[in-house]
Subunit: 148 residues, 4 copies
Amino acid sequence: MARGEFTFFHRLRVRYAEVDAQGVVFNAHYLTYFDVAHTEYMRAAGYDYTGEVARTGQDFHLVKSVVEYRQPILFDQLVDVWVRLARVGRTSLTNLFEIHAADADDLLASGETVMVCADMATHRPVPVMPALLEAMRRIEGSRFPGGD
Amino acid sequence: MARGEFTFFHRLRVRYAEVDAQGVVFNAHYLTYFDVAHTEYMRAAGYDYTGEVARTGQDFHLVKSVVEYRQPILFDQLVDVWVRLARVGRTSLTNLFEIHAADADDLLASGETVMVCADMATHRPVPVMPALLEAMRRIEGSRFPGGD
Amino acid sequence: MARGEFTFFHRLRVRYAEVDAQGVVFNAHYLTYFDVAHTEYMRAAGYDYTGEVARTGQDFHLVKSVVEYRQPILFDQLVDVWVRLARVGRTSLTNLFEIHAADADDLLASGETVMVCADMATHRPVPVMPALLEAMRRIEGSRFPGGD
Amino acid sequence: MARGEFTFFHRLRVRYAEVDAQGVVFNAHYLTYFDVAHTEYMRAAGYDYTGEVARTGQDFHLVKSVVEYRQPILFDQLVDVWVRLARVGRTSLTNLFEIHAADADDLLASGETVMVCADMATHRPVPVMPALLEAMRRIEGSRFPGGD
């Protein structure tokens, strides 16, 4: 996928705590990077995640994650974690991620997460929250899945 | 997949450090659980991972990971992480994982990792190390991919 | 402090996710090891931590931690994390920790934590829970601070 | 200690992966925050940490850490981690840390680390590297321990 299909990235610097004995980021931390970038993506879209969880009692459950590790990511490296919305289901959202070296074209990793919206009290799936859909339309514009 | 197709599991207890504000294991830690279980799986197979890396200069690179989150895993819960070898390529190995509540049938999560064997000096792929194949045949027995 | 002053240890094996680019356990994870060992110490003392938190609405806040790093701890190393109660205040408990190589005398690290008992609703300190004191007396025996 | 005695801080935002079931940052991660801030402090001082380790074969070993937890730190909170050099020994450096809510006076935590400079090949202590001392004088100015 061309990076041009993404509208948002979050830049972060690799912490010493995140590299392993091979001197590269340990594989589990890629999912933390995706999570951090997704939080910033919602903020950039104007979605008040913490406030909405408190207001509606609805949150996400991650149901699937995929990471493809392409090139090692090193201690102290600056990387950009790109996020986009790929699919919207009745109760689920699929996001795509790419990690690139900052200010470079190198694709270091890519991945996908699938989240289900759920009522925190019953743990039952609920339709994707309207305020969230609205925010995703705002940030994705013409890239919103299904088109405008 | 039936748990009967697995020969090995590693039991662990969820740490307080691993649960998030929802009171469940944070998604990235599932990959750490897979990694811990895979290390024990190699040990059970009689493969001296650390010694072989030092002896041969060859190690694994993870190239892909998939996790499917099925039920929440809770603080202090005892879980069994099952591991099996699913495919053997010329330079790669694919492992499957399932996390079950200890002594129960509940499938809490499943997943897959693909590793490529590589020379640590050149970072180039190398054929799967013979000592590792031998160990995998030992632990998998008739379940070894392709059969015996 | 002589290890003989401790009555309890929890054995754990260092995970690959916990070592850094120097090949040794990253400094923050020692506190996670202390936390894991303290959880097991309470369990060994017969204190139902999760149940008591739910029943009383009282939990601990950590207010201070100290770690002294003496020798590196390596990937895959088996270590014993020893725990003991050192001081009991009106609303606080001080625990001491030592990490030793399994089945060896090598002192790898030592440390201390101070916890304050608190009401989770008001976040105010409360007297150390009687059931917890009782459990600590049980496991420490004649080593209980102040003596019996 | 007044925050005025510090010249440097690093701002970071609390990750969802870092909060526990109480909804606050898990205690071990404070040491990771200190480590991240210390890395940025060295960068701000003009010390090329990675380059110098490669060039000299000398690095730090942490020998002691202390954290005092004063107020809970919450998910998504922006915090400033202040760093300063407190003492210089022949082979060791002591740093002080304070974590404040961003743009506020609230002291959330404070702490201290003691590092020993060591030769990575022999693991023996070595005198504090001259290039590091020089960098510390640069960033601390008149606050450099012992004064100028």
